[in-house]
């Protein structure tokens, strides 16, 4: 393993976060606070509780997932897209590194940033609502798995994209709607039966459900199914990344 290479890529990517601290850290904190003001205070005052949990606390896992998914994707996709855009990717391609090491460096840094943001959102949420985590180990496992999986997904988007518009396309047009419609701000049981069935086709539902279970022991689908779905998505992403490096898809001519 070329640990020195992994270390410098990881360090470089993390340094980029500190250079854009306001955008990286302050932005998710502000948007989370706004969500609490709008959903927690304005709407939450009209909904007493969802499945025995105060509405403000109920939306915390969904809010965290919303930020984690979008941040993991954007951090990782930008991380690999920017060297492609500037041409500095030649250094990565001519370095004595395997694709595993490249992925560990970029995806590891993107997942770390998302994880930090996740904890910041959790701390921010703690200021607005009384939070209890029923299964902290499971919560952390879901958190880490989600960060890594979606950072991998972002990495794939970064390799696939050949302009800045494509870089934003999937996070904006696919991920954000899926998170909103995946039970971030409501329980699936609150929907009419037909829509409940439709929602089951939304993969993000399984992430949010499992994550919410680790907080409140309340879930829309079984925890095992949630975990299986994340692991399945992780395996698919790893497979795609492996194929991209093997064939040189949009990286190596």
């Amino acid at each position: 393993m070329n640990w020195h290479a992994i270390k410098v890529i990881y360090k470089f990517e993390m340094l980029r976060t500190w250079n854009t601290l306001l955008q990286s850290i302050a932005s998710p904190v502000i948007s989370t606070s706004l969500y609490f003001v709008v959903f927690g205070a304005a709407i939450g005052s009209r909904i007493e509780s969802v499945e025995g949990i105060s509405y403000g606390a109920f939306i915390v896992p969904g809010l965290m997932m919303l930020s984690l998914l979008t941040q993991s994707i954007s951090n990782a996709s930008f991380g690999i897209y920017f060297p492609k855009f500037t041409g500095t990717i030649y250094e990565i391609l001519s370095a004595p590194m395997s694709f595993v090491e490249v992925v560990i460096g970029y995806v590891g840094a993107a997942a770390t940033k998302s994880l930090i943001i996740g904890f910041i959102i959790l701390a921010t949420a703690g200021l607005f609502v009384d939070l209890q985590i029923a299964h902290p180990i499971w919560m952390l496992s879901f958190l880490i798995l989600t960060c890594i999986t979606f950072a991998l997904f972002g990495f794939i988007i970064g390799i696939w994209a050949d302009n800045f518009e494509k870089l934003q396309l999937i996070p904006l047009l696919v991920i954000t709607p899926l998170v909103f419609l995946g039970g971030s701000f409501y329980s699936v049981s609150m929907l009419p039966p037909a829509w409940q069935t439709v929602t089951l086709f939304n993969p993000v539902l399984y992430l949010i459900s499992g994550f919410r279970w680790s907080f409140f022991e309340v879930a829309d689908v079984s925890v095992g199914l949630s975990l299986s779905m994340i692991l399945l998505f992780l395996a698919i992403c790893l497979g795609i990344v492996w194929w991209m490096f093997k064939t040189g898809y949009k990286i190596r001519q």
């Binding site: 020195h4 041409g87 500095t88 030649y90 370095a95 004595p96």
Partner: protein
């Protein structure tokens, strides 16, 4: 002696259908400076990119110090430093950090002393904390060289290193290349500038349309392929070349006081003695005689146009 780089039957056809390289074979000896000359789109950058691992060949193989660059890429890439043609640098990183980054990528632990030495060698020490976007084009070029040298490579590829740089910097780079060669580094450079190849290379390869037309020692190439010119200054101008001298195919200058005779140094008889005798017989009075050799540029143009 085993060549440090050995290229065998290398071909590359891009997805667009463009045949960038066509069965190129080439051995590069340790410690030499090889210049690859060729017009735009000749395949120079593709050849370098394949050796460095950036481009995958369609057919053929590359060995670096006896190691295959596909199956043993860790060993081969560790030995290679590459300075790309374009000024491909990030914007917000500092000079110091970007050199440390390149060193780490090649699997080397941090070595501040070596980075400092490299920066000083490239006159970049004062700029070590500057961000890359604040540097001039010439400085960016030096940073790229610094990045390539940060992991102490045994082989250095310079893809048009002096394209767009001023004369002073170009000469500084030539001096640096000579310094590196003296320290044992093998250097392969591509260039458009014939004078660059003429000035610093030991051997010269000419590529055109993806084919390696020749690789020769620079001096041997010039000797072997160069025509020489004998210029004869006359004391009195003439209006035409005397018929008795027709067989020598002399060129008369517009002013009428200079005759030029072109001859091939490879021929056993150059015809100079006979020409001088014939000149004497026609009664022409000579003021001066001098000879000059074809420049590399003329040789290059002839080769490429013949291909």
């Amino acid at each position: 002696m085993q060549p440090i780089v050995s290229v065998s039957n290398l071909s590359k056809r891009y997805a667009s259908g463009h045949q960038a390289l066509d069965s190129v074979s080439l051995d590069i000896d340790k410690g030499e400076i090889l210049a690859l000359l060729g017009p735009n789109g000749a395949g120079k950058t593709t050849l370098i990119s394949i050796i460095c691992g950036i481009v995958t060949p369609t057919t053929g193989s590359v060995k670096v110090n006896g190691h295959d660059n596909a199956s043993e890429y860790r060993k081969t890439r560790k030995m290679i430093g590459l300075v790309p043609q374009e000024l491909t640098l990030g914007a917000f990183d500092t000079v110091w950090n970007t050199l440390c980054f390149s060193r780490g990528l090649h699997g080397h632990p941090p070595d501040p002393a070596h980075i400092e030495k490299t920066l000083r060698q490239l006159s970049l020490w004062e700029k070590r904390d500057s961000t890359l976007m604040t540097l001039s084009g010439g400085m960016k070029r030096r940073v790229l060289i610094g990045k390539a040298l940060s992991h102490q490579p045994a082989i250095l590829f310079l893809d048009e290193p002096t394209a767009g740089v001023d004369v002073e910097l170009r000469k500084e780079m030539w001096a640096l290349v000579n310094e590196l060669r003296e320290s044992g580094v093998t250097i392969i450079l591509t260039t458009h500038y014939i004078e660059e190849a003429e000035e610093i290379a030991d051997r010269i390869g000419v590529i055109s349309d993806g084919r390696l037309l020749l690789v020769e020692e620079k001096s041997a190439l010039m000797e072997k392929m160069g025509n020489k010119r004998l210029t004869i200054d006359l004391r009195q101008a003439i209006t035409e070349v005397p018929p008795a001298l027709a067989e020598y195919d002399l060129q008369l200058s517009d002013t009428g006081d200079q005759l030029t005779y072109t001859y091939d140094t490879r021929r056993e008889r150059t015809g100079i003695t006979a020409l001088l005798q014939a000149l004497n017989d026609t009664g022409l009075s000579l003021r001066d005689i001098n000879t000059s050799q074809s420049s590399l540029e003329e040789i290059f143009v002839n080769l490429v146009s013949d291909s």
